[in-house]
């Protein structure tokens, strides 16, 4: 379970990105995090993995806990074992020249034996439908393939929580469908920050609307996304499928 209690965050020399965020996300829930650009969605995801706040003191509590483990400096390894973070730009995440090296990065840092690392690399690449891509150069992949390799790198660590930052941006429809299918097969908790509301409607049972660093609404996807007044108030739109009654 993810718990955030009165989480506030201000970037050094900048504006407040998160203000008194209180959240509880149960294990296995798939939650959409929506809001206008600059609402604090990415900042919130970075807190889930302990990448923020910066320079966290060893005994200081950030106000976030994952599965009962508080995010503190001395707990970062345990936290990062639990939470897999997918970055918006795949070029930020794919830092190895060869696909298999990148996918193996996480398992190697978990100090797993070589046989286990090899098995996880094979399984993760198969899970994202890129089983034959192990020795491809990352720079030669399409955006969709890069995103899937990034996801393989995250899945290879076998996290219980996936935190995904705009996973569907810049994807063509086919790549988008493939990524949706992969996420639908993931059994753990997912927090998906996205502007793609049709996709939120398809994947998430619950939606959190974030605006100006505060939680403005939190509830069942259909109820939130069909509230036209709420959506427009926070720079969003009722998704096409909901507006046209095509979401069943």
């Amino acid at each position: 379970m993810i718990e955030m209690s009165q989480l506030s965050f201000r970037y050094p020399g900048g504006r407040a990105a998160l203000k008194d965020v209180n959240l509880k996300i149960e294990a296995g829930e798939v939650v959409g995090l929506v809001g206008p650009s600059g609402a604090g969605k990415s900042t919130l995801l970075l807190h889930l993995n302990g990448l923020l706040p910066l320079n966290l003191a060893a005994d200081a509590d950030s106000g976030v806990s994952i599965g009962g483990i508080p995010i503190r400096k001395d707990q970062l390894t345990a936290i990062r074992r639990e939470v897999g973070l997918l970055f918006q730009d795949p070029d930020d995440q794919l830092f190895c020249p060869i696909v298999q090296d990148d996918v193996a990065f996480g398992p190697l840092n978990l100090n797993l034996p070589p046989g286990e690392v090899r098995q996880r690399v094979t399984d993760a690449l198969a899970a994202v439908d890129l089983a034959n891509y192990g020795l491809r150069q990352t720079a030669q992949l399409s955006v969709g393939e890069r995103k899937r390799v990034c996801l393989a790198g995250v899945l290879a660590c076998r996290p219980s929580v996936l935190a995904l930052d705009e996973p569907f941006s810049n994807l063509d429809p086919r790549a988008r469908r493939k990524l949706i299918a992969i996420l639908q097969n993931f059994a753990g908790t997912q927090v998906i920050a996205t502007h793609d509301l049709d996709l939120v409607l398809e994947l998430c049972q619950r939606v959190i609307v974030l605006d100006d660093g505060r939680v403005r609404a939190d509830g069942p996807t259909r109820a939130i996304l069909s509230d036209r007044e709420l959506m427009e108030q926070h720079g969003l739109e009722v998704p096409y499928r909901r507006a046209s009654g095509r979401d069943g």
Partner: protein
Amino acid sequence: MISYLDRYARGATVCHRWPASLKLLLAFAVTLTSVLLPHQAWPAQGVLACFVFAGHSLAGIPFDYLLRRLLAFAPLVMMMSLALPLSQGFAAGWEVMLSILCRSGVAFLAGLWLINVMPFDQLLFTLHRFGMPKLLVAMLAFMYRYVFVLWDEYDRMQTARSARDFGGGSAALRWRIRSQLIGMLLIRAMSRAERVHGAMCARGWDGTVRVFEIPPESVTRNGNHRTI
């Protein structure tokens, strides 16, 4: 950009079929010999240069490819080697300057041959096997990965500039804009470095370099792998 550095690395010539360690030793031996030869040993330098050119021919690397890269490399070495005669009022130091030019040319061509007769990942793996520290191997891997990303970023910025410069402006203005682009690229590279570091930490990076020990000799001709 992807093929700029090592366009011929996945060829099928006799050089590509040699063991990776032999290729590395050959390139290293040529460079070391060139560096250690005395200034006056011009014929020996010539022999080494012929040897390197023969290697390029055997590897099927076209002459115009070599020439273009030599032209890109030459001004840099020229400026550095010119410092010697310059420091002596152009009265002496010309022989040493020519010697520096010759040695660096041979070393550069040997290095170019090396990266064009085996994929870069195989080269890194071989260097690691020969005892190169993991940290250095990781730094080279990062460099190889991000040189393409940064080049693409520069390309996009250039395109955006071209879309709005309407072909006008003086040469001075164009140079100013180009230097601003490079400055912007540096700032973007720094912020990307921060994000990459975040992505590494997110997957358990603790400052220790760990290498995935699977020899890249299992690469097939089309770049796919047979087994992991």
